[in-house]
Symmetry: C2
Subunit: 428 residues, 2 copies
């Protein structure tokens, strides 16, 4: 038996606002940041994870992770790892901490970070990448990870078991396929609002040459700009290449419908985050108003209850999970099961700091053991900040190569942690 | 001109878990707490406000308030107070901080605290209680306080102006009525789950004798207990006295419908928080399944977008705002206007620490200047911890006496702040 001896946290911030990487209609000057945690045991384990933020407030997120030390430090880790479902429900069920959400925002994401750090230890101990660890669990073991509270009018334990059992056949074959050919990616790199048209065109051309299956443009600040940029992208990419658009929550419901229809001639592959991520009914109204253009959202969906409703209301045709917005691997398994139940493809949000490294494990698990398909699915890719990770994403021909290194993929290099620990100021 | 010189914060916790005051099916052992802030200027102003929490994590909430110092400290206060709508939208629009919600949870409540503290200064400078300050603003001034973003498919600026203009007639008469007769209250004091049947019966008897218009029982832990306790309360109160029930988010959707219908013979005045506060569609399903029993929720509704949807979906017939869950007075004005637009009565959540002192101002403003009526409306009252406030609530004949002291009502006594500042442990 070994004990957890520390939750080590770091406030890490990259000065991305200086180059306008990541600029969109809602977030003009993000400083991509990580509220980083390492869970350490007296046996030498180090479980890494983080919450992604965009600068100010990263210290608040770090404090929230620190507040969870009481749940973990001093406890034997083996019982926690052996029952990750119980561990998850225990922390999520702390009624005093729950009041701060409930199950949303800073405190919820902090819980996600420590849960993900425990998964990192579990995967490293098993000598497996997280996706493979999860994919080799039995359907019963997987459903034990899920908190079905508030889901049962859309997804019961029995529903989930049925989905997982149906996907048991073929797991090994799909694992082989994944290791051989990877998981499709699409790239947002060309589309940031702060980039010039020339940069957009160059990056769009490169994206196609690199083999990506889709690109995405940020929209929503100025319609005439959007029309011009979308037209240029179409000229570069041709009429059939998928180009999605992303408004980053910029619009009112009626405005979204009008704006998207004004861009319809360019055939957007989907419209992402047209309005408030909390507005399930609004998304449903938009979905009806822009059909057949598909609505996508989820990177800011606070928990499984929002995903449940987006699916129930037929508000989305593409579901975008995020590795760190919800309460970690466990809640994202619920989200994947919900998507499978409703037959909606999951195309995760990524980018930021380490989101690609983290979320690929969930899509790969989904392919092997949940939905059983890569059809119509792809993971977002942004070519930023990968060099800071111990096992950076490996993109080949536009696809994510399945990682084989043990762990959850979230471990940052010690030198990067040290160099980018926030000291109160970015210097241009 | 004067400048803001400090945001002073305190981590204040009362050891309420020792007496089971406030115990319910979801929150068995709360330590009622306040993440407290005083905004100070070099002119000697002190604006008080807080976020209510139930113990652990109160330090996280304090850190989130501290993170807002950069928005306020060093700035001239008069331009901020003269344009409280602009001040609100400026802080709420900080895109980096917004990422931590968006507009929900710890960071959103922190913004609410500093906004409420500024309102305290504005009201004190005007020499008016907050409700009166707000009630004497013009309709145009009031709508300028609101952020209509994400609301316009349910409530436009023009809708809001129409509501406020319609209520202009009679403002003075209603102010007189309010000062003469107060605002109706109901009490939850008898109904905590941790209390014995004898205590429940005694407190229910006292509540009626005190003139309260309704009592409320906590339910949801054990159906047979609920039936027994509800029956005892009916025996004490008689067949016609309103008795509401509150499940504190304990149920699944189908469970809520079954459980409430099993209590229908006792005629609950409403069922409060039957399930997750995020589940708009679930509440709508419950509302259809328990009709004619009314569904109430809102104390954990994270922002105006949730209230909008609860109303659009006809999921609630009673709307329960909370003074500190959302981003302060400004967002609650949006919530009051939404309720008025949909014709749903607002019966605020209160109790906790200072929630009665704070929220009464919003209901009184609603009566004078928004809905124009007290009909079917009442403010929750719990007889705890009022002695710590400089201007404690004044309940007479079961009604809230309209406060006349300048300010927002949230100022705690300096001695109480000092005595209950958290030092890491409650001693039984």
């Amino acid at each position: 038996m070994s004990r957890i001896v520390a939750l080590e946290t770091s406030d890490i911030r990259f000065p991305t606002s200086l180059s306008l990487d990541g600029s969109d209609a809602m977030n003009p000057d993000p400083d991509y940041s990580a509220a980083y945690v390492i869970v350490r045991t007296d046996a030498g384990d180090a479980g890494h994870a983080f919450v992604f933020t965009i600068g100010r407030g990263n210290d608040v997120q770090v404090t929230a992770i620190d507040a969870l030390a009481g749940h973990l430090v001093g406890r034997e880790i083996e019982p926690l790892l052996d029952d990750m479902g119980g561990t998850f429900r225990d922390i999520i069920g702390d009624s005093q901490l729950r009041w701060l959400g409930p199950e949303k925002g800073v405190m919820h994401m902090a819980i996600g970070a420590v849960i993900n750090a425990l998964w990192d230890i579990k995967a490293k101990r098993a000598g497996l990448p997280l996706w493979q660890l999860l994919s080799r669990m039995t359907p019963d073991e997987i459903v034990d990870l899920v908190d079905f509270r508030y889901l049962t009018n859309a997804l019961t334990r029995e529903d989930a078991l049925g989905i997982l059992r149906a996907a048991e056949k073929g797991r090994e074959e799909r694992e082989r396929q994944l290791l051989a050919t990877g998981y499709p990616g699409y790239t947002t790199s060309p589309g940031w609002l702060g980039y010039s048209d020339e940069k957009l065109e160059r990056l769009a051309r490169e994206a196609m040459a690199d083999g990506f299956t889709q690109i995405k443009l940020k929209v929503g600040a100025d319609l005439q700009d959007d029309i011009r940029r979308f037209r240029k992208a179409r000229e570069v990419c041709g009429p059939d290449f998928p180009i999605a658009i992303d408004a980053n929550q910029r619009w009112e419901v009626s405005e979204a419908i009008e704006w998207v229809n004004a861009l319809a001639e360019f055939h957007p592959a989907w419209i992402e985050e047209p309005t408030s991520p909390d507005d399930v009914l609004g998304h449903a109204e938009i979905a009806r108003g822009v059909a057949p253009i598909r609505v996508a959202t989820g990177e800011h969906a606070q928990n499984r209850m929002i995903f449940k409703q987006l699916l129930q209301a037929q508000a989305i045709e593409v579901m975008q999970i995020d590795a760190v917005r919800v309460a970690g691997v466990n809640e994202n398994i619920a989200n994947l099961l919900l998507a499978a139940k409703f037959g909606v493809p999951v195309c995760p949000h990524a980018g930021g700091v380490g989101l690609c490294e983290a979320v690929q494990h969930l899509s790969m698990f989904d392919f092997v053991a949940v939905s059983g398909t890569r059809e119509g699915r792809m993971i977002e890719y942004v070519d930023h900040l990968h060099e800071h990770f111990v096992v950076p994403t490996d993109i080949r021909g536009g696809s994510y190569t399945a990682p084989t290194a043990p762990g959850n993929g979230m471990e940052m290099k010690a030198g990067s942690i040290a160099e980018y620990t926030w000291r109160g100021q970015h210097v241009a």
